[in-house]
Amino acid sequence: MAAAALRPAILRHIRLSATTVTPLAAAAAAAQPHALARWLGRPMSSHADHLTHDEVVGRVLDVLKSHPKVDPSKVTPEAHFEKDLGLDSLDTVEVVMAIEEEFKLEIPDMEADKIDSLPLAIEYVANHPMAG
């Protein structure tokens, strides 16, 4: 519990040291602002360089399996939160927030409200450039 809560704080520190922008990176940033955002995003996590689709699936499955109301044996990459896992809308909020935390993302309300199944959650994370 304590370690899990400390992680964001530690990561914030690591992120600071990673932003020591080299002249080269600064030049690249001027040319392509989004490229810099991606580049800054990468060093945040040891997973960032190897975030394969399989890894996204595996980690999303793990998040779901660890939710207290979920029967781990029912968790599949195709499962629907409510129909297959029996989660209500409050549980769904909790699950989506846990996925945010796992991948160090912040999912806006508009997007989060749409995520009601594992396929949608996996798709969202897999397509997110900052997912780590």
Binding site: M1, A2, A4, A5, L6, P8, F81, E82, D88, S89, L90, T92, V93, E94, M97, E101, D109, A112, D113, D116
Partner: protein
Amino acid sequence: MTTRAKLSGIQRQALALYRGFLRTARLKSPEERHRIESVVSAEFRENARNVDRRNFVYIEYLVRRGKRQLEQLKNPDITGLSTLEINKVLTI
């Protein structure tokens, strides 16, 4: 709970509020975070169970009250819900 095919406006507001509380809880100490999460979760679940889903006036009131409490909780000087209990009693 209804299917999530279409969330109503008020339902969306309630879920956004729940999300806001959980997000704010992350900024507190681990102990407080845990406390806030369990208190907030219990409160939302109790209301979801006991409040008639057609009682919009009351639900809107609960959402407004929740928003006020969330704003207070966002203040970094407020470490946890214990500080808000007084407010809760007053607004009931």
